[in-house]
Symmetry: C2
């Protein structure tokens, strides 16, 4: 949650920051937090490390953000915007693409983003923003969840007989499945698919799911 | 790693434990560890809590296990055996089942186990055993990874033209995808599929994947 900076004049008599200046301070804090995560991952995002990086006191940082979760959320919001941009560039730029092509493209973009920015991507699931979506209304309301809307939209085109709620449910399944493949592979855990095979396997998985859904 | 108990006679002159007695001690420690995880999850599995639960000193516990990771691994091994049994019961008991039916059945069993034993299931991915499988040889060697073999076997039946290595790769993809759906739903995170829809959605996902793979 962003805090409104207090309006009281400073102790030294100079006027308090303008809204633009306050936004600049917030932005500088988020820049520093992002660098910390890029270097060492979310666990390194502590008030102390942020103080060392920005040269601002912990008190000053907490003037602009309620707590470190709020700082983490601000970094995650930027990451989601970057992910969104990659999905648009990779999967949504061809107006003639079929719904299946779009869904495969979105899955590949998701994978490519995770590989390109593994620390920022992992941070999405570790702290701050909880990308928990429980109903269709949520992603209409939440700008940063546009990416889920892309999947719903393509599924609704693929399955014209089904209503949006049904597409929404299948979109969650597909996203969870793709997330599972990407997450385990990026983390190298459990039964991870090897890095060089993930794109091809995602094509099989998403393409197969689309075929299966169309046939029902 | 299990430690061989030291053979030296006890300070009080009584002979050291027989192998059966030592095995009984180990088993009692694992029982207690499993109860601790069932009650509070893997984070509660500490040497101190194990001492309180078993009445054995920490030193005595470390006489039988190298460290707490080894205790966690022993609990996870039991969990995997239970999961294996549920998969056999739910998915492998019908000799006339098609490969697709078997693969759907395995996915459902995976989900049902996670719902029935959420704490033991989560513990599999938190500590101890790293269920990291990198080649076909691994699951032939590792008894507790039989469950992956079930998937490979069904896929090889479904895709008779493909060699075992290819089936193995697709099995990893399918397991990762199913894991993604189950994991996010059980944890209630991200774009989780609601509990009551997971079975049906897994049928779509696995059935679709099987269709897609067969058509390639």
């Amino acid at each position: 949650m962003l805090k409104q900076p207090r309006k009281a004049p400073r102790a030294n008599g100079r006027p308090s920051l303008t809204p633009e200046e306050a936004e600049g301070m917030r932005s500088a804090i988020v820049d520093a937090a992002r660098e910390i995560i890029l270097e060492g991952g979310m666990p390194k995002l502590t008030a102390r490390n942020l103080q060392d990086r920005t040269g601002m006191s912990v008190g000053k940082i907490y003037h602009y953000f309620d707590d470190m979760d709020a700082v983490a959320t601000a970094v995650n919001s930027r990451t989601l915007a970057d992910l969104d941009q990659m999905m648009v560039d990779e999967a949504l730029s061809d107006p003639d693409a079929s719904p299946t092509d779009i869904l495969i493209g979105l899955a590949l973009a998701y994978h490519h983003f995770a590989r390109q920015e593994p620390k920022l991507w992992s941070a999405l699931f570790e702290r701050g923003i909880t990308v928990m979506v429980t109903s269709t209304a949520d992603w209409h309301l939440q700008e940063h969840l546009r990416l889920i809307g892309y999947v719903v939209k393509a599924l609704c085109r693929l399955l014209p007989g089904r209503n949006e709620e049904a597409c929404w449910l299948h979109a969650r399944t597909l996203l969870s499945a793709v997330h599972g493949v990407v997450f385990l592979s990026v983390e190298g855990r459990y039964v991870a698919v090897p890095r060089e095979s993930v794109d091809e396997e995602l094509r099989f998985l998403v393409g197969g799911f689309c075929k299966g859904m169309s046939a029902v």
